[in-house]
């Protein structure tokens, strides 16, 4: 379908729909990147790419909770050079708009990764910088927890990457307003709000945490009300385009994100529930626009903010 009411340009990249597949959920199979098979999908974020290959975490990696999913994959990937050699050709052939999800490691490593990607900037138009990772040179906290380290990470990336730059925030920040402003001031073109929430599970038979690293990233429909609140807060702070991410799994969720101020949404866990979720969401959005005689989804962006209550 053409989805004319839904197509728009996001951080300079034209997207057929505002529904993006989030990082870490979509494999590099040729047929899964073929744009002819992806009706409803606006773009895809790749699995995390780091400078060198990473083995990921040992032990249990995924655990379902009520309407939610805990994961502790640990950024397993084969590194940027293998990505360029093996994944990029598949991606390119598929013809979908995409963002390369880049792990914020040390500043040098990240810059190396981005420089390697920049050599292919005829194909790679956008990067999604994942700042939920620990700043090992600093205090070991995630880059995205404070405005200061966020600014540092984004500025360092911006200096070597000229293409579109999405910055993916962590919900474990204490000051979403400050972090959003810091990312904006340091050169982000858009913000993804947000990565996973900090949760855990316990194995009642072994009497120990399910995950070897104790805590794990929490996603899925369960977190939607939290993610929507965070999107609302960030949209109050910034005028950058915001991509809502966290628990979106119905068209009503996607619309709520847009009414809160988002320009698009990412779907992670929902892709595990049903692979046709993007199309169902687009259908629902389109029918809503048609029913309310609204020409384009962009007219709804942030509309709920205009009538907001007082906290």
């Amino acid at each position: 379908m053409t989805w004319s009411r839904l197509s728009d340009t996001l951080v300079g990249i034209p997207l057929k729909t505002p529904v993006i597949i989030a990082s870490g959920v979509w494999p590099y199979d040729a047929d899964l990147w073929d744009k002819n098979n992806l009706d409803g999908v606006g773009a895809i974020c790749t699995k995390a790419v780091s400078n060198k290959s990473r083995r990921g975490n040992t032990g249990v990696r995924v655990w379902e909770t009520s309407c939610g999913l805990l994961n502790s994959i640990g950024l397993q990937n084969t590194g940027v050079h293998d990505f360029l050699q093996n994944a990029l050709p598949v991606i390119r052939k598929g013809g979908m708009p995409f963002f390369v999800n880049v792990v914020m490691e040390s500043i040098e490593e990240t810059q190396e990764t981005l420089k390697a990607l920049a050599e292919h900037d005829d194909i790679i138009k956008g990067v999604e910088l994942n700042i939920s990772c620990p700043n090992v040179d600093g205090d070991g906290m995630a880059w995205g927890v404070s405005p200061e380290s966020t600014a540092q990470a984004v500025a360092a990336s911006r200096s070597v990457w000229q293409g579109s730059l999405l910055v993916k925030l962590t919900p474990q920040c204490h000051d979403p307003y400050g972090v959003a402003l810091a990312a904006e001031a340091s050169g982000a073109d858009g913000l993804v709000v947000a990565n996973t929430w900090l949760g855990m599970a316990i194995d009642i038979n072994q009497c120990r945490p399910v995950f070897n690293r104790t805590f794990a990233g929490f996603s899925g429909p369960a977190v939607f009300p939290l993610a929507l609140r965070l999107v609302w807060q960030v949209c109050e702070a910034t005028s950058l385009p915001v991509i809502g991410c966290g628990g979106v799994s119905t068209w009503q969720d996607a619309l709520s994100m847009i009414l809160a101020g988002a320009s698009a949404v990412e779907l992670g866990t929902a892709m595990f529930v049903h692979s046709d979720m993007p199309r169902s969401i687009c259908k629902g959005l389109d029918a809503y626009l048609e029913g309310h005689k609204i020409d384009h989804i962009r007219e709804l962006r942030g509309r709920a903010q205009a009538r907001k209550g007082v906290f």
Partner: protein, 257 residues
């Protein structure tokens, strides 16, 4: 997407042992293309709890139906047990490239730990010309009588072992296996990890003749989440797309907890 998710309907849920149900689903898309060793991720439609599909080996197919043998252990399987015919389901699959292929003229020794029998029964259904074979089924004990009868009905001539000796030979399935495998023999095994590990140890010299189905937690079933990754001699592999059957030889057993 068509190759991933399919609508299905539960046609029958039947208790065959105190803890095991046979579930028959209407789902032509899966029934038509399933190969032995493949599995589906089963989920209910209209609810987000349970959230994700649960992997179950395909135990049989008919023209438009798929049969699963499900042990009732947790949230989804307890619910499944109570569902009436007509309940709507989503089947993701058939999944897995490490399926079981028609053996040339080898003798196959099937080794099943409880519901691990499911994919092996499907192999027997799919390769009816398979003359040389043995089938060993291990169960905990008497409570599994109904399940043993079920398997016996599907494939005559099985050797039964039980941990407490209340059914067949006392001991686990390994007790009924030969010391070494003949050159023309292969083991196809599915069951709990300790059983598979013990078998890999027993046939360490012949691990190229032993195929095992691995049970890892899965979120996506399509190779995307990297939740089901194991270590192999060829690097990390995803059980959902590279398995679920692997040669025992490939698997890094020390890494499997």
């Amino acid at each position: 997407m068509e190759r991933i998710d399919h609508n299905g309907t539960i046609l029958k849920v039947r208790l065959i042992s105190s803890e095991v149900i046979e579930v028959v689903l209407h789902c032509p898309a899966v029934a038509l293309s399933a190969k032995p060793g493949q599995f589906v991720m089963l989920r209910l439609r209209g609810v987000l709890d349970p959230l994700l599909g649960r992997p179950f080996a395909i135990a049989a197919t008919e023209a438009e139906t798929v049969t699963l043998l499900v042990q009732v252990v947790g949230k989804f399987t307890h619910l499944l047990k109570t569902l009436p015919p007509g309940t709507k389901a989503n089947l993701r699959g058939p999944m897995g490239n490490g399926y079981l292929e028609r053996p040339s003229d080898k003798k196959i020794i099937f080794v099943a730990g409880t519901v691990g029998a499911a994919p092996l029964l499907f192999a027997l259904q799919s390769f009816p010309e398979l003359k040389k074979r043995e089938f060993v089924l291990g169960v905990p004990g008497k409570g599994w009588g109904g399940f043993v009868s079920y398997v016996e009905e599907k494939t005559q001539n099985i050797k039964v072992c039980s941990d407490d000796g209340t059914l067949g030979i006392k001991g686990n399935a390994l007790a009924a296996l030969p010391e070494t495998l003949g050159n023309n023999e292969e083991i196809w095994a599915c069951g709990p990890l300790p059983m598979l590990k013990a078998m890999a140890r027993k046939y360490i010299e012949q691990a190229g003749q032993v195929r095992v189905s691995l049970d890892m937690k899965m979120a996506c079933g399509i190779g995307g989440c990297l939740g089901c990754v194991i270590s192999t001699d060829k690097g990390p592999k995803r059980v959902c797309v590279d398995g679920p059957f692997f040669m025992a030889k490939e698997v890094d057993w020390n890494d499997m907890e």
